[in-house]
C-alpha cells in the first residue's frame, strides 16, 4: 500500500470524513466500472457502487491493512454486492439495450464506429462468463490490477487467478468468434 493511502485509511478509520472522501475520489470510478460491467445497467451500478462505499465507511473499523491496496477491500465488497444483487434481482437487462448516454463517456471523439462496436460486443460477451471469470478479466485488463491484488480481493490464490484468467480469455474469444461468424 502506498504510504499516502495508508495515512488516509488510518484517518478514515478514526472517522475522518475528509480522508474517506479522498479514498472515495481515488476509487469511485474503478469500482463503478467494475460493477457496471457486471450488472450492465447504470442505475443498478450506481446503487451498488453507493452501497459499496457506504458499507466501507460503516465498517472502516473492521478493515485491517494486510499489505494490499485499499481498493482490494472495496472490490471484495463490490463483488459480494453484485452477487447479492443478482440473488435478489432475477431480472436482467441486456447491456445492448442500454442507451449510449448511460454508458459514461467512452464515446470520445477519437473513438471509431468499429471500436464502439467492439466495446459493445465485449461488454455483452463479458456478461456471459462465469462471475469469477468476469471479476478476473475486469480487474486484470480493465483496471490493471496485479494477480496478487486480484487474489486478495477475490480471496483466491494467485495460481487460481492465473487459471481463471486463461480460461476466461479462451471462453471470451470463443463467444466473440461465435458472434462474428453468426
Amino acid at each position: 500500500m502506498r504510504s499516502e493511502e495508508e495515512i488516509l485509511v488510518n484517518k478514515a478509520k478514526n472517522s475522518d470524513h475528509a480522508a474517506f472522501q479522498a479514498l472515495y475520489d481515488l476509487y469511485v470510478t474503478q469500482i463503478y466500472r467494475f460493477v457496471f460491467l457486471k450488472v450492465g445497467q447504470k442505475q443498478d451500478a450506481e446503487d451498488i457502487t453507493q452501497h459499496v462505499f457506504v458499507s466501507a465507511w460503516e465498517n472502516m473499523n473492521s478493515y485491517e491493512h494486510r499489505g494490499f491496496p485499499f481498493s482490494s477491500w472495496l472490490y471484495r465488497i463490490a463483488s459480494n454486492a453484485t452477487v447479492d444483487h443478482f440473488r435478489t434481482h432475477r431480472h436482467t437487462v441486456d447491456i445492448e439495450t442500454v442507451p449510449e448516454e448511460y454508458l459514461g463517456n467512452e464515446n470520445d471523439e477519437e473513438a471509431t464506429i468499429d471500436v464502439a462496436l467492439g466495446i459493445e460486443t465485449i461488454k455483452v460477451k463479458l456478461k456471459e462468463l462465469e462471475p469469477d471469470q468476469q471479476n478476473v478479466l475486469i480487474m486484470k485488463f480493465v483496471e490493471d490490477k496485479s494477480n496478487k491484488e486480484i487474489a486478495e480481493a477475490l480471496q483466491k490464490t494467485e495460481g487460481a487467478i492465473r487459471v481463471i484468467q486463461h480460461r476466461a480469455l479462451k471462453q471470451l474469444k470463443t463467444l466473440i468468434d461465435a458472434r462474428t461468424h453468426n
Binding site: D25, Y32, W57, G104
Partner: protein
C-alpha cells in the same frame, strides 16, 4: 493470441460514472450526513443526550427504585407531605381548643366564687334573719329549760 481481446477489454477503461452521481454519493460522507451513515461507536460523553438519558435511567433503576422497595411503610407514611401538612396545621388548633376549655372552666369557677362572695342578699348572711332565728331558738330553749327546771324544782320540793 488474445491481444485483440485484451485490447478490447482495455478500451472499457473509458467507462466512467455520471458526475452527478459521484457528487451526490460523495456528499454522503460530509459531516452533516456522517452521523446517519457512521455506525462506529462514539466516545462516551456525559454531554451526549443519549448517554445522559441512559445514565439517568440507570441511576433511577439503581438508587431510587431499591429505596422505595426496601424502605419501611412508616417511613413512607412520614414522607406523605399532605399528611404532614394537615398534621402541622391541626396542632395549634388543638392546643388552642384545650386552652379555651381550661379558660372557660376556670372562668366559671372564678365567676361563681366571686358572685357568691359578693352576694349580700343571701339568707344566711342576712343579719336580721339570723337575729330572728336566734330569738326563736332562744325562745324555744328558754321554754324547754324553764319547764325542765320547774319540774326538777318541784320534785325537790316535794
Amino acid at each position: 493470441m488474445h491481444e485483440h481481446i485484451i485490447k478490447q477489454l482495455k478500451s472499457l477503461q473509458t467507462i466512467e460514472p455520471d458526475n452527478g452521481f459521484v457528487f451526490r454519493t460523495r456528499n454522503l460522507f460530509v459531516p452533516a450526513t456522517i452521523a446517519t451513515v457512521n455506525i462506529s461507536p462514539r466516545p462516551f460523553s456525559i454531554f451526549n443526550w443519549q448517554y445522559a438519558s441512559a445514565f439517568a435511567l440507570v441511576l433511577i433503576s439503581v438508587i431510587v427504585i431499591p429505596f422505595f422497595m426496601f424502605t419501611p411503610e412508616e417511613t413512607l407514611a412520614s414522607l406523605d407531605t399532605q399528611a404532614l401538612t394537615s398534621e402541622i396545621h391541626s396542632l395549634p388548633i388543638n392546643v388552642q381548643l384545650e386552652e379555651l376549655k381550661y379558660n372557660e372552666t376556670a372562668q366559671e369557677t372564678i365567676t361563681t366564687a366571686v358572685s357568691e362572695a359578693s352576694n349580700t342578699d343571701t339568707n344566711h348572711l342576712n343579719t336580721s334573719l339570723i337575729r330572728r332565728e336566734g330569738e326563736i331558738i332562744n325562745a324555744i330553749n328558754e321554754e324547754e329549760v324553764e319547764t325542765n327546771v320547774d319540774d326538777l324544782l318541784n320534785q325537790v320540793i316535794q
